[in-house]
Each structure stands twice: as structure tokens, then as C-alpha cells.
């Protein structure tokens, strides 16, 4: 516990059990550490993740051995895929019982090798403090990620010498040379049609100011990945909308017409590039990433700079010349006018109205979390995200059930209003955690866009599986208002489009958790859409003309 305090930990999410009794016993003496008890370990992990995404500090989660530890797995994997700093501390059976298939024994370090940045089992009390220090260091340094420390029960009971140490300064792990910067500057200054693609790495590095400065100097269009939303203000006229499978046509056009793609802290996921061989093939690629392994992994870079986005941009900016030529941006504006999201997603007019009405009424600084599915993509498209850490969503793993835990973590971490946008499918994966939000009177609103189907899968069935809607019709008989009341929350059912603003006003006025349920039609689609593996040029703008 002293180590946690040393690392400036103020909040821990978790759930006790047999092998962590001693850990929780120690916690008893540390009222300054706020422990949030969830109903299920998975959501404790998502909460720690949401806390980290909202605050930038590492999230901490405790769980017991066996099922407690395995319940963390989805949460750890979610954080791993999105490079979120998290430290998970699990108990394990006593050393003498390890490897004997003891009660609630699981080799959690073995299980989590592929989904942690690092993990370790501590077998000597003398190694515990350093293992925890290293966990916090590794979780935050370079490209962030989750670290798991597994501690056998007897080690948690033992007392060891503790010598306080200052946390190590987090290294940015820059590996760029002056020459890399000079070459990149030459490429940028020579470019007539630069296009900036910003990802989560910009947010992780806190490089939004530098990104903004670069964009303004170049007068270049800017797109973002799902993970990058908030790195550049959505309200800015240079923003072309998200890129990728459900990105805008303008962003797709920019990708296939630019002469230099400046990619900052993004990893060219196939949800962004679709057909890798055809992605931005006419352009030179400048790839800036803190993780050297990302460079040339999915897309080969013509110019590469390995380093923290903020440090790299700071090094680049003085050499970048201000662009006076406006022809490229004129072209981009023309595309934006020709292909507005509105037109492309004619079908999603109502979800858009709901989301925008909600945002109109939301207090300044509201944080948005999402579950996974159609509602997530609509949120990414239609919410106006102007600040980093304002939009929290499971991008890489695509974890249904992520949002509510994340909302709880974000609310605890920031004290701000949080809205978790959910579909009825995702809602039923984590609804028990409403209890957690109620117990802590957290300012969390769950907006359920209820279409009675698993909309995103259904959309694929509609497009690619001859409308054979196998197992995607839910029609759950849930009464959301009664359910909210049963859990001690406040429930609102929006049944009339005209009530939208009034309903959200009422919902935001309520102190504590609120569930707002709004019915939408099952055939609302997420558009535009680039079918998986197809080039960005094959973007589908409208399904029903």
C-alpha cells in the first residue's frame, strides 16, 4: 500500500476475495485511497481503464485469484489494445500451493502474457516493492499499456522492509535523430497536399496543442481515428471527420488524394485502412509513433520518426513553413460540402438528433463513454468532441460492456458529468454496475438507444448475409424506467421526438445516475461504410436511395 501511495494512487477499483484479504486488510488503514467496489471484476477493470483515459493517470484494479483474475481478462485486453496505462494487482494461492490446481488457482501471468505490456508473479517479499514500482513505470512509459502483478497470498501476509522511493520519471523513449526530423521537415515543406491523421498517441502524449499548431501552419485537413477523437477539435473547419470503416467520404477522399499523409500516434488498424495495399498509395507516408514496432507493421512508411508525439511535433514545428496556398483546403471544403455526414447517413437522422439534443443539454466538460456497436459509431460521428479525454470508447478490442465501467471510472476520476451512450444489447452486458454508480451517487447518465436488435451485426447481416437476422433480434422485455428505479437510479423514457430537449434537461438536472431510454428504429444504419477489406474508394454512402 505504501508503494501505491508512493505512486500517487488515489483510487483503486476492485473486488475482494480469499487471496487478497490481507491486501484489503491493509487498505482498511488507508482511508485516503478511495476504493470503488464494483459488482464484477470485469467492470472494475473497465473502470480503472476509464479512470486512466479520463485523467491520464494509470488506473489501478485489485482482484482475487482464479475467477477474480480471469474476470479481469477482458478489461485488461481492452486496455492493451488501446494502449491505456493500467496496473492490475491480483492475489494468487500460497506459494506452496502454486501449480497444484489449488482452489481458485489460475496461472494469471500465463493467461495474460498476450494482453499485457508486462506481467510478473512476485515470489519474494523483498521483490514486491520494486515489482510494483516497475509496473507503474512500464504501464506509463513509451507506449502505455496494462501491467499485471500477481502476488501469492503468503507474500501479501508477510511483512517486509519498506524504503520509500520517489517514482521514476516516466521516459518518453524517443528514438529519433536530428536527421529524421530534418528529412520529415523537408517532406512536409515540399508537400502541396498534406493530410494529417491523428490517433490516440496524440492524446496519450498530450500533444493536442502541437497538433493544432501544425495543422494551422499547414492549413491542412485533419482526420482522426476513433482513438484520436478529441485530439483536434471537431468544430474546427479543417476537421474532415473520422477516417475508416465508418469515417466520412471527405476523409477517404483526402487519404486517396493527398501527397503526404502525416500520421501521428496511429497504427493503421485495418478498420482505418481497409485494403492496406490500396490505402493512400499515391502519397508519401510520414509515420510518427512512439512504438518502433508500429512503423512498417501495417503500412510502410517513407519517413519515420520514432518518439513521443509531443516531443516529435515540438522538434518539427520550428522547421515547418507556413503554407499560404489554399487550393488544397478549397478542394477539401468542396468535398465536405458535397459529402456531409447528414446526406450519407440519411437513415441515421434520428439517432443523430437524439445525440445532439443530449449534447445540447449536457453541462460543459461532459465526458462521453460508449459501449460498442451502432450507437458507438453514431457517437463518434455526431458528437462534437472538442477536447482530448472527452470521448472514451473501446477502439481496438471493441468490447461490448465496456462503457458503463469506463463511465464510472471517468466520473470518479474527474468528478465531471459522464454520459455512457449504449445500445440495448450492450446495456444488458453490464447493467448490474448501475448499483455501483448509485452507491457512489456518480453523475452518470446511461443513454440507451434502444432498437431491440444487435444493430451493428444486423446491419452486416442486412448487407452481406441476405437479411438472415440470425440471433440479432433481442426484443428484451426490460422496462428501463422500472429497472432504474429498482436499482435506486432515475429513469426516463423518451417516447416523443419533441420531448428530447426537455427530457435531457430533466435528466441532467438529476443528481446521481440516470437511465434515459430512447427507442430508435431497427433499420437505422451506420453510414458511410467501407465494407471490410475493400479500398476506401468503395465507400457506401446510402443504402436506401
Amino acid at each position: 500500500m505504501e508503494c501505491l501511495k508512493e505512486q500517487d494512487v488515489d483510487t483503486v477499483f476492485g473486488f475482494p476475495g480469499g487471496t487478497v484479504i490481507a491486501l484489503y486488510n491493509a487498505l482498511y488503514d488507508y482511508p485516503e485511497i478511495n476504493h470503488i467496489l464494483t459488482c464484477h471484476e470485469q467492470h472494475a477493470a473497465h473502470a480503472a481503464d476509464g479512470y486512466a483515459r479520463a485523467t491520464g493517470k494509470p488506473g489501478v484494479v485489485f482482484a482475487t485469484s482464479g475467477p477474480g483474475a480471469t474476470n479481469l481478462v477482458t478489461g485488461i485486453a481492452t486496455a492493451y489494445m488501446d494502449s491505456i496505462p493500467m496496473v492490475a494487482i491480483t492475489g494468487n494461492v500460497e506459494k506452496k500451493n502454486l501449480g497444484k490446481d489449488s482452489f481458485q488457482e489460475i496461472d494469471i501471468t500465463g493467461v495474460t502474457i498476450p494482453i499485457t505490456k508486462h506481467n510478473v508473479i512476485v515470489k519474494e517479499i523483498s521483490e514486491l516493492a520494486d515489482a510494483i514500482r516497475e509496473a507503474f513505470y512500464v504501464a506509463q512509459s513509451g507506449r502505455p499499456g496494462p501491467v499485471l502483478v500477481d502476488v501469492p497470498k503468503d507474500i501479501t501476509i508477510m511483512e517486509g522492509e519498506y524504503e520509500p522511493e520517489k517514482p521514476r520519471e516516466i521516459a518518453h523513449q524517443n528514438a529519433f535523430e536530428k536527421e529524421d526530423i530534418a528529412e520529415a521537415i523537408r517532406a512536409i515543406n515540399a508537400s502541396e497536399k498534406p493530410f494529417i491523421l491523428a490517433g490516440g498517441g496524440v492524446i496519450a502524449a498530450g500533444a493536442e496543442k502541437e497538433l493544432h499548431e501544425l495543422a494551422k501552419k499547414l492549413n491542412a485537413p485533419v482526420t482522426m481515428t476513433l482513438m484520436g477523437l478529441g485530439a483536434f477539435p471537431a468544430g474546427d473547419e479543417q476537421y474532415t471527420g473520422m477516417i475508416g470503416m465508418h469515417g466520412t467520404k471527405t476523409s477517404a477522399m483526402c487519404a486517396s488524394h493527398c501527397d503526404l499523409l502525416i500520421t501521428i500516434g496511429a497504427r493503421f488498424s485495418e478498420r482505418v485502412t481497409s485494403d492496406r495495399a490500396k490505402f493512400a498509395k499515391q502519397a508519401n507516408i510520414l509515420h510518427i509513433d512512439v512504438d518502433p514496432a508500429e512503423i512498417n507493421k501495417n503500412i510502410n512508411a517513407d519517413y519515420e520518426i520514432m518518439g513521443n508525439a509531443k516531443d516529435v511535433l515540438k522538434a518539427l514545428l520550428p522547421g515547418v513553413e507556413k503554407k499560404e496556398d489554399t487550393a488544397w483546403m478549397e478542394q477539401v471544403r468542396h468535398w465536405k460540402r458535397s459529402y456531409p455526414l447528414d446526406r450519407a447517413t440519411r437513415n441515421a437522422r434520428f439517432p443523430k438528433k437524439v445525440l445532439q439534443a443530449m449534447q445540447d443539454e449536457a453541462p460543459e466538460g461532459t465526458v462521453f463513454t460508449t459501449e460498442v456497436g451502432q450507437h458507438q459509431m453514431w457517437s463518434a460521428q455526431f458528437l462534437r468532441i472538442d477536447q482530448p479525454r472527452q470521448f472514451i470508447s473501446s477502439g481496438g478490442l471493441g468490447t461490448m460492456g465496456f462503457g458503463l465501467g469506463a463511465a464510472i471510472g471517468a466520473a470518479v476520476g474527474t468528478g465531471r458529468q459522464v454520459v455512457n451512450i449504449a445500445g440495448d444489447g450492450s446495456f444488458h452486458m453490464n447493467l448490474q454496475e448501475i448499483v455501483t454508480a448509485v452507491k457512489h451517487r456518480l453523475p452518470v447518465m446511461i443513454l440507451v438507444l434502444n432498437n431491440n436488435v444487435l444493430g451493428m451485426v444486423r446491419q452486416w447481416q442486412k448487407l452481406f448475409f441476405e437479411q438472415r437476422y440470425s440471433q440479432t433480434t433481442l426484443n428484451n422485455p426490460t422496462d428501463y424506467v422500472k429497472l432504474a428505479e429498482a436499482f435506486g437510479a432515475y429513469g426516463i423514457d423518451i417516447s416523443n421526438e419533441r420531448d428530447l430537449h426537455a427530457a435531457f434537461k430533466k435528466a441532467f438536472a438529476h443528481k446521481g445516475p440516470v437511465i434515459v431510454k430512447c427507442d430508435i428504429h431497427e433499420d437505422e444504419n451506420v453510414l458511410p461504410m467501407v465494407p471490410g477489406g475493400k479500398p476506401l474508394d468503395d465507400i457506401i454512402l446510402d443504402l436506401e436511395k
Binding site: 501471468t109 498476450p114 508486462h118 508473479i121 512500464v138 514496432a293 512498417n296
Partner: protein, 166 residues
Amino acid sequence: MIRRYVLSILVKNTSGVLSKVTGLFSRRGYNIRSLSVGETHDPKISRITIELIGDEAILEQIQKQLAKLVDVVKITGLRSKSSVYKELVLVKVKSSAKKRASIIELCDIFRTKIVDICAETMIIEMAGSPEKNDALLKLLDEYGIIELSRTGITALQRGAVSIHED
């Protein structure tokens, strides 16, 4: 171009380090042809030698991904021209009294050792480059190989250089 590469990896001797290294290969779909592991003169550090098949792009990814593992201390690619590759093979062959002399003759040519012998079989120990070992194994196959065990390549760079230097 698909070819063979040999990587020498220094790792911290922690529990699970071997799973972390080999898991990376299977997870990302890289092929390990052989692998050998042992402690170095520093008992806290082990050395893993991996022989793998792939192209330059795969090799670049493997090295970068390995470098991200906290327990990996150092990775060096060992080129065949500037390194010594050795592999130990124990092979048990059928060796009736009639065939014994010709097998022994073969072993002499290849400068291998016979480490066990009985009326029907013998065990031959070879320590050479994998290519040389393959050549002898091919010849021995005609006599009937009963079983064999190979350690996989272990290797060191020639000359005064050391993996422990920066």
C-alpha cells in the same frame, strides 16, 4: 526474400520469460525452426538462440516486438558469415554387425563420435552446423534411424565482439 535468420536474445532469468518470447512468435504467426536456451556466465541472464524463417519485413517486426518485452535485454541478429552456428544431434541408428564398419567409416569422415553401441544399434553424437548434420543424417537414413534428438542452433559471433557490449 524468404530465408533463414538466427537471432540471439539475452533475457532476464524470470519465470515465464520463455513463454513470453515463444508466445510472441506463435501469436504473430512467425515460424521458429529451432530454439535453444541456457544460462550465460551471469546466472541472472539467459541466452536464447532462435532460428527462424521469414523475410526482411518479418525479421524487422520480430526484432521490434521482442525488444518491447521488458524481460528482453538485448537482441542481436547473427549472420552466417560472421558467426559460428553449431547444433548437437544425438541419433540412434540400426547397426547390425554387417553394417557397423561402414557406419563407423562415415562417422570418421564427418568427425563425429559414437557414444553408445550395442548389438543392434549405436548412438552417434554430432556437433556441427545444421547443414553438415543434415548431410550425415541423410546418409544414416539408409541404415535406418530409430530416433534422434537435436538441440537446435546455438551460435556466437566470430571475433572479439560480444553481445554483452553496447
